[in-house]
């Protein structure tokens, strides 16, 4: 018979890679079977990369499953009951509390529920003989300050809420053995998901329940209370069929140091609040400031989706890390695709709730309740038809980049897989795979560019890009043409965000590498043209030594010549390069040449079939033409052309497209020059709003719009003051 010391040595080694304490990994293992177990949120991104920690968690989970088997086996000590924890206050040895009752004034009955935070008992208030539920803080007097603060907060929060769908709090206190408790209404109900399953509710029945949940949540939100842990287990449906929300236990603790009391142990510092499956992506990012009431809307979305389809939107995730990535990158399947017959409106509503970016969800729970009511009444919902595409597309593209943790995780995965593939790129197949992965990265990057894609969050995106650039540069050192492609893409994104020095460095480096490669026949004319085009764009905007318009012109000419050699004259992209060449000429005051170049481009495009690209080109050309008119002093013509440009553009882009912002800026400026101040103001303000949203405050166009707005306001304000005074003087009294 061997002694346990055999494995003592192995046990001394850190569990996992040592970066996280054993407790954190043990909790993560427990969380696989108990959704109430809190998890260190920093663990999620770590696990995607760390095999050792994942294996440790697998091992602990296997241990737990194995040991769980023993629960059914009788053991001598369990028969004695000495260790029974069926009631709080009963210590290991048993105490006199059992006789007196751990809570003054109450007699406790069976345990109803035990979660990560507390245990709930059936109880009776002795004075009134009233049945109620008593919740005790798990771990009782041994709990950390963090848990205690949270418990007290829970009491305050729940006590303040009075709503038919929110469980009422009666009173609270500290037990004889020092454990905090509170007594609340005893709800005789069934978990929402089980209720839906048992009654086989259809989509409309489910929607009616969700409408009541949304009403209750809206009520709580109006009082500044966020639930943060909504899930089917926290929503009971009572005998009257009314959903009742329990456990505002994770409601936001406003105390700033609530999560980091000294000595509370590392697992508590970043203790993850909420339950993974129902947690919004921003809750997974671990940034408490990113969390607002819209995380509850996400949770309602998961619950709604689950009730409608019988599965959670991201059911396939095998690890926490995978779940994070899915939540931020994927759009779940439409409920109606899983369960035929579900109204499309419910598709739109659920997917809207499940938007990765909180900004794309409903703004308030009231708005959700309203849309559910509309859908049930057969009225058009406010999440409009076009927003179906909007929501889907947004989820797919724009917002995967906005959640920093997931983006960094993703970058690491992609970078390392590309690096591996490149390292082993001897075989053609491996080579092809490496290229397709690189393509995927580049495509993803391009979509974060506010000018070509949907990127908005400048800081996160640029950090992300810098990270990818660094990760990939080393990997691609032996593949200069791949590196050049990467640098060019990265440079263009920097350019899109107005980060000009970084843009110039990356793009000029790419150009040098690609010129060399082109001369050796390693890349084709189109790639070389794209490289020259990037150079042309960045030189056009260089801030420090001043824009290099002449250098830009040379690069445009090179790009046009290269591209035309392949595509011939009737290629919209080539024609657009010619239009842009005209801008560099205009900036160099070669106005006549600019004019004739622009007219040439417009004439060439006239023969092309109508398309979205064509419309965007036409709008840009009209803008350029208006600019030339303005230079000639023909302001009225310029205004008309700017307005025509905007009309041409609008049907083809989203309302907030940055080109719309620029168009409005041009119109406002021209109106100002024409002394039409009042009508310039709304255009300028709208322009400022769009540009700020799409390009950030640092952008040059944004600051021009901002300056324009303040200038117009000053002038309009001055005039209004004069006008009002005049009016007052003319009043009869």
């Amino acid at each position: 018979m061997s002694d346990l010391s055999d494995d003592t040595q192995a046990m001394q080694l850190p569990a996992g890679c040592g970066k996280f304490p054993r407790e954190a990994l043990e909790l993560a293992a427990l969380a696989r079977t108990d959704r109430d177990v809190p998890i260190d949120e920093r663990l999620a991104p770590h696990l995607v990369m760390c095999k050792r920690c994942t294996e440790a968690i697998d091992r602990f989970a296997a241990d737990n499953a194995f040991l769980g088997e023993f629960k059914a086996i009788p053991t001598p000590s369990s028969k004695s009951g000495a260790l029974s924890r069926s009631r709080p206050g009963a210590g290991v040895a048993g105490t006199s509390d059992e006789v007196a009752g751990p809570i003054p004034g109450y007699s406790l009955g069976d345990e109803i529920h035990r979660g990560g935070q507390g245990a709930v008992y059936r109880a009776e208030q002795l004075a009134t003989r009233r049945s109620c539920a008593v919740k005790m803080l798990l771990g009782g007097k041994f709990a950390s300050d963090v848990q205690r603060v949270r418990f007290e907060r829970e009491v305050e929060v729940v006590a303040a809420l009075r709503h038919p769908s929110i469980v009422t709090l009666y009173e609270s206190g500290i037990s004889r053995s020092g454990e905090p408790w509170f007594a609340m209404e005893l709800v005789d109900g069934e978990r929402l998901d089980e209720y839906v399953r048992r009654l086989r509710l259809d989509a409309r029945g489910i929607a009616r329940l969700m409408q009541k949940v949304a009403d209750a949540i809206a009520y709580a939100h109006r009082r500044g209370v966020i639930h943060r842990d909504l899930k089917p287990g926290n929503i009971l449906v009572d005998r009257e069929g009314v959903p009742r929300i329990l456990d505002f236990g994770l409601a936001r603790a406003d105390a700033p140091d609530a999560g980091s009391s000294p000595g509370s142990g590392t697992t508590l510092v970043g203790e993850f609040l909420g339950t993974f499956a129902y947690a919004a992506p921003e809750q997974l990012s671990g940034d408490p400031t990113a969390i607002d009431s819209r995380c509850d809307l996400y949770a309602i979305g998961v619950v709604f989706y689950e009730c409608l389809t019988g599965r959670r939107p991201f059911d396939g995730a095998k690890s926490i890390g995978e779940l994070v990535i899915q939540k931020t990158m994927r759009t779940p399947e439409r409920p109606s695709a899983l369960v035929p017959g579900i109204d499309r409106d419910f598709d739109v509503i659920t997917l809207r709730l499940l938007a990765a970016d909180a900004a794309n969800r409903y703004d308030t729970a009231d708005a959700l309740a309203e849309d559910l009511a509309r859908a049930l009444d057969g009225r058009p919902i406010l999440a409009r038809e076009d927003s179906r595409i909007y929501v889907l597309r947004r989820n797919l593209r724009r917002h995967w980049i906005a959640t920093s943790a997931a983006a960094i995780v993703l970058a690491t995965i992609v970078a390392s897989s590309v690096a591996l593939a490149v390292a082993y790129a001897n075989a053609d197949r491996a080579r092809a795979r490496a290229e397709s992965q690189l393509d995927a990265v580049l495509k993803a990057l391009e979509e974060s560019n506010p000018e070509t894609g949907d990127g908005t969050s400048a800081m996160l995106a640029t950090e992300f890009i810098a990270y990818v650039e660094k990760s990939l540069e080393a990997a691609l050192a032996s593949e200069p043409t791949d590196l050049a492609r990467l640098l060019r893409s990265v440079g263009l994104i920097h350019l899109g965000f107005g980060n000009l020095p970084d843009a110039a460095t990356a793009i000029e480096r790419a150009y040098a590498i690609e010129s060399d490669a082109y001369s050796r026949g390693e890349i084709d004319a189109i790639a070389m043209s794209d490289s020259a085009y990037a150079v042309a764009r960045v030189r056009f905007r260089m801030p420090q030594a001043g824009p290099d318009f002449a250098g830009s012109e040379r690069a445009y000419r090179e790009a046009i010549e290269l591209r035309e050699s392949v595509t011939g004259p009737e290629d919209l992209h080539t024609i657009d390069l010619i239009r842009q060449l005209s801008s560099t000429l205009r900036r160099q005051k070669k106005l006549e040449e600019a004019e004739s170049t622009l007219r040439g481009a417009m004439a060439r495009s006239a023969g092309l079939p109508p398309s979205r690209e064509r419309a965007i080109f036409d709008a840009a050309a009209l803008n350029a033409s208006a600019g030339l008119a303005s230079d000639r002093g023909e302001l009225q013509l310029a205004l008309v052309e700017y307005q025509r440009a905007l009309e041409t553009l609008r049907p083809h882009v989203e309302p907030n497209n940055f080109r719309v912002g620029v168009g409005l800026l041009n119109i406002a400026r021209t109106k100002m020059q024409l002394d039409q101040w009042e009508s310039a103001l709304p255009d300028a303000e709208e322009s400022w709003r769009i540009l700020r949203e799409r390009k950030g405050d640092r952008d040059e166009a944004t600051s021009r719009a901002a300056n324009l707005v303040s200038e117009i306001k000053r002038v309009v304000g001055d005039r209004a003051t004069v006008g009002t005074d005049g009016a007052r003087r003319s009043e009869p009294r």
């Binding site: 046990m11 088997e69 086996i73």
Partner: protein, 215 residues
Amino acid sequence: MDLDRTTTALLAGLLDPSNAKAWEVFDQRYRPILVGFARNCGLKDHDAAELAQAAIVRFVEEYRDGRYDRERGRLGAWLVTIARYRMLDMRRRAGTARIERGESAMIDLDDEQSVSEVYEAQRRRAVLSEALADLKAHSRTDPKTIQAFEMLVYHSVPVATVASELGMTAHDVYLAKSRVAAKLREIVLRLENEYEEGPGDWASKGRRPSDGLGA
């Protein structure tokens, strides 16, 4: 592994009518499993004990007659079949009244698969139970480690509470859990090897034991 306790050794011993030890070990091992199995199939305590007795005797008889070929199936499957036919027989004799009252509706005796599952669950229980007794009786495990394990696993006491009440750190409690898990795994593996009963399932080999009727 205790070679005298393996199924192979037991079966060899059972061939010798004078080998009281083999009979005793076999009985100790399989009787509780069969009793628990019969109870879970809906029998009352008295009937369950009777069934276990009859099934064991029947098995030993058939085995000595050379009707059990180990290469063709597991011992447990053979026992289950004997016991199942025996129970079907009891049910026939008792008439259908009791079934209609729902008393034996816990398990469908006609469903071989679920009957086997009930037996397998009992067998596993027996292994785990023996493993637990073995852990306490033989290993020199620190009593506190076992206590921590019991509080944690049997009584679902939160780690922080276990740690505090036993004067350990939470880390120690988790470590205790891992140690006990590792030790129990080792014992269970050894016991499972001892219980090892031969490959396959007789049902797929086309040969069946006697239906156990007419005993």
